[in-house]
Amino acid sequence: MGSAFEDLQAVLKKLPGLGYRSAERLALHLLVERPERLNALVEALRRAAEDIRRCRLCGGMAEEELCPVCSDSHRDASVVCVVEQVVDLMALERSSAYRGLYHVLHGKLSPISGVGPEDLNLASLGERLRSGDVRELVLALPNDVEGEATCHYITENIAGEGVAVSRIGFGLPSGGGVFYADPVTLKSALDSRRSYS
């Protein structure tokens, strides 16, 4: 055990996006420069730790048993979009383009990092599908090898008959042209072209 300051710095450094120097800066900021902010932070962390949990249904972030999306009766409960992380759910929500429900896996199959099906939020997806309410599964996992393999796994082992499975499209970003796109993106954009008439 180091000093209280060193311990705080060590804990901060473990957070994503923070290196040794930024951790030191944050610690100094809270303890020396603006100590009045410390209590508010401690209180916010305590409350969040107590109140925030995984949504029983989708595995997203919730303060009740169900997350705001799952408890919203206006959403289309027959469509479920499978995403890798909570941040992906948030990004899709910001788009306001999707009115169905979600399912967050909290990862993707990655044998190299030792992540297998039992480490993902897959069992509850199976239960949701067996309940018979879901007609369509939208796979919004990344299109790298591990994301695609996870899609195969879900299609073959989780989604039973009677559920239509679709894959989110990959291609050019909106407002962007062909010129700045990298070759891989252009290839998937061409592969997923559609008739225009």
């Binding site: 199959l109 990655s110 044998p111 190299i112 030792g114 297998g116 099906p117 790298d144 090898v145 591990e146 695609e148 393999a149 996870t150 195969h152 796994y153 073959e156 082992n157 070759p183 891989v184 290839k187």
Partner: protein, 373 residues
């Protein structure tokens, strides 16, 4: 593509040198260890943004210096007169400027300034392990077709995942998920390799007949150990059938990563039955075919970098070799001795202790070695 000039600074044993290349054929003469190969290494570096001798970039920096630099002026089929500056730090970090603009994605450079290196070590392509031949093939096809490189990467990511699953004794469902991801790339790699080899073989056979001075058919063939497949579904089936065997081996036993290139001469194995001279001629013909392939695939004429290749050839082959490379391409050759080249288009340069001195030609009067300002 024609290299007009190059300036080197603290590159290997070259403290500072500026070389202006007039004409198309240049021969660098000097004793061993004077810097001939170092020069070729610098000339070939931009091809794949790596040295043909070492993967360790920091070795290219002259001892005790903070960085090595090389500046090139090209006459380029696509970009016209264009200038590229390369800097390599003593920790191996690299920056490239292209016409005074910093290249942010170094990968963008790869394949745009192709050269073909001929080295005495090329004989290892015949005698060495299959991995060497596969690597040569993959580098060549990737340089001409970036899609090939992407498919190769995709395949290898899937393969690494499957191998990890085999070692963990994971279940069939997980293996199947990754096998499906490997199948498309495996099938595309197989087709691309077959097509590439067909094209290479046309040039190879011609070059070998010229160089070897014998009417023998040289041929590259893809050999697929284990049970090879073609269509994606066939690969899925093979991997599924092979799971027990693969689990025991702890690695995937069938797939494009096991392909080998068979070098054949008149239908017989070159490695097993070929004479020294035949093997040497074959790899030189292979490099010439590589140059043709790059030209056909990219529209760029790659300069040839010949690192003391004729030392092991007999008189007849040597003569035919010099006649063969005296084509359109720019040629940079090295040797301990000044060879009989039988054509006066060559310019000679003496290399000693990292300095270069052109032998002046009558009425030329130009002295190539100038210290850069």
């Amino acid at each position: 593509m024609i290299l007009r000039d190059v300036t080197l600074q603290n590159f290997r044993n070259v403290a500072e040198a500026r070389l202006v290349f007039e004409g198309r054929r240049h021969f660098f003469v000097g004793a061993n260890g004077q810097g001939k190969t170092n020069l070729l290494e610098a000339l070939g570096y931009l091809t794949a943004l790596r040295s043909f001798r070492t993967a360790e970039n920091r070795l290219l920096v002259r001892e005790g210096q903070p960085e090595a630099a090389a500046a090139y002026t090209f006459e380029h089929e696509r970009f016209g007169r264009t200038r590229v500056t390369l800097r390599i730090g003593s920790r191996g970090n690299r920056t490239v400027h292209w016409d005074d603009e910093r290249v942010s994605r170094l990968g963008d450079i790869i394949g745009r300034f192709p050269t073909v290196v001929f080295s005495a070590d090329d004989i290892q392509l015949v005698r060495g392990a299959p991995g060497l031949r596969r690597r040569w093939m993959d580098l060549l096809f990737s340089a001409v077709d970036s899609a090939y490189f992407q498919v190769l990467q995709q395949y290898h990511r899937g393969l690494t995942a499957r191998n990890a699953l085999l070692r963990e004794r994971a279940g069939a469902a997980e293996l199947s998920a990754f096998e499906r991801e490997m199948a498309g790339p495996a099938s595309r790699l197989g087709k691309a390799r077959e097509a590439g080899l067909r094209e290479l073989n046309v040039s190879l056979e011609k070059a070998y007949r010229h160089l070897g001075g014998e009417d023998a058919a040289a041929l590259l063939e893809l050999r697929k150990p284990g049970s090879a497949a073609q269509a994606p579904e066939e690969w899925i089936e093979r991997w599924c059938e092979g799971r027990d065997r693969d689990r025991q081996a702890g690695a995937t036993q069938a797939g494009p990563h096991r392909d080998d290139l068979h070098f054949g001469l008149e239908g017989r194995s070159l490695a097993r039955y070929g004479s020294e001279g035949q093997q040497r001629s074959f790899v030189i013909a292979l490099r010439l075919a590589q140059a043709d392939y790059v030209r056909a695939g990219t529209g760029l004429l790659p300069p040839l970098l010949l690192d003391d290749v004729t030392a092991e050839l007999d008189g007849g082959r040597r003569e035919r070799f010099w006649a063969l490379v005296a084509g359109e391409a720019q040629v940079f050759a090295t040797g301990v001795m000044r060879p009989e080249l039988g054509d006066d288009a060559w310019r000679f340069c003496r290399v000693a202790g990292g300095t270069f001195a052109w032998e002046s030609r009558i009425a030329s009067g130009e002295c190539g070695i100038r210290t850069a300002q």
